[in-house]
């Protein structure tokens, strides 16, 4: 465990900040229709929150929050939500991803389109977040998976300050 990971200040700050970063990510995803933001940006922010947690608390702890199996399921679920929305429009007689064709609210295709765009953004965000976390765990060292890191070198003679 490195000196940064042992620091009480960093561990406490990360523990406090991670829920707020996740909340902000959800805000960015849902705000995509009304202002700057969207699924790609919010997904990356959400992934960064989990990556930050795994960096400070260790890979094993991070995988308890987001296991590989859950990660893979979420990555494919997001894409399924997106493609499923497109197929839903086909089912109701529109073209692929023609949101207005879904008779969610009668005679108001624009509002239906607004809600389905939000749904699509959620799908994008889920996939992007899961893939970001997956990429981080892909390049993380495998020996830290067991939770026990290799012993520190016994003498620190060569290290100054």
């Amino acid at each position: 465990m490195s000196r940064i990971q042992e620091s009480v200040i960093i561990r406490t700050v990360v523990r406090i900040m991670v829920p707020f970063i996740e909340l902000f990510a959800l805000y960015v995803i849902m705000h995509g229709a009304g202002g700057p933001g969207g699924g790609f940006q919010g997904g990356v922010i959400f992934g960064a929150a989990i990556i930050l947690y795994a960096m400070i608390y260790g890979i094993a702890e991070g995988k308890q929050k987001m296991s590989d199996a859950l990660d893979r399921i979420l990555a494919s679920t997001g894409l399924t939500i997106y493609a499923g929305t497109g197929l839903l429009c086909l089912f109701f007689g529109g073209m692929f991803l023609q949101y207005g064709a879904v008779p969610l609210i009668p005679n108001d295709p624009a509002t239906v389109s607004k809600y389905l765009i939000d749904l699509v953004e959620i799908g994008i965000g889920t996939t992007v977040a899961a893939i970001m976390i997956s990429l981080f765990f892909d390049v993380s060292p495998p020996e830290s998976e067991e939770g026990e890191l290799p012993e520190e070198l016994p003498d620190h003679e060569g290290v100054d300050g």
């Binding site: 969207g38 894409l79 497109g86 991803l97 765009i117 699509v120 953004e121 996939t127 899961a130 892909d138």
Partner: protein
């Protein structure tokens, strides 16, 4: 090798700065890009057609939603390919 890399970076940067001189002025409404009838159409109709006030989102998720589906698929496929390549551990 470092000198060569520095040279490549400097030449590329100089070319980009030179090409950047030809860009239209920022926010100028008289450029071709803003005068194009597609731009006019999106500015006038994206709110009523797609229901979202953000024109960027209307374009991204509605007018070219098929393209965005492809982009998401690219990210998904890239992540899965990296997982297949790097997680080859003995087990």
């Amino acid at each position: 090798m470092k000198t060569l890399a520095l040279l490549v970076v400097v030449i590329t940067g100089a070319m980009l700065i030179y090409a950047g001189q030809d860009l239209p002025p920022f926010g100028d409404p008289n450029t071709d890009m803003y005068q194009h009838r597609m731009t006019q159409y999106f500015i006038e109709n994206s709110k009523t057609e797609s229901g979202v006030p953000n024109i960027v989102t209307a374009l991204l998720a509605n007018y070219r939603g098929y393209d965005t589906l492809g982009e998401t698929t690219v990210i998904f496929t890239a992540g899965m390919a990296v997982m297949l390549l790097l997680r080859r551990r003995e087990r």
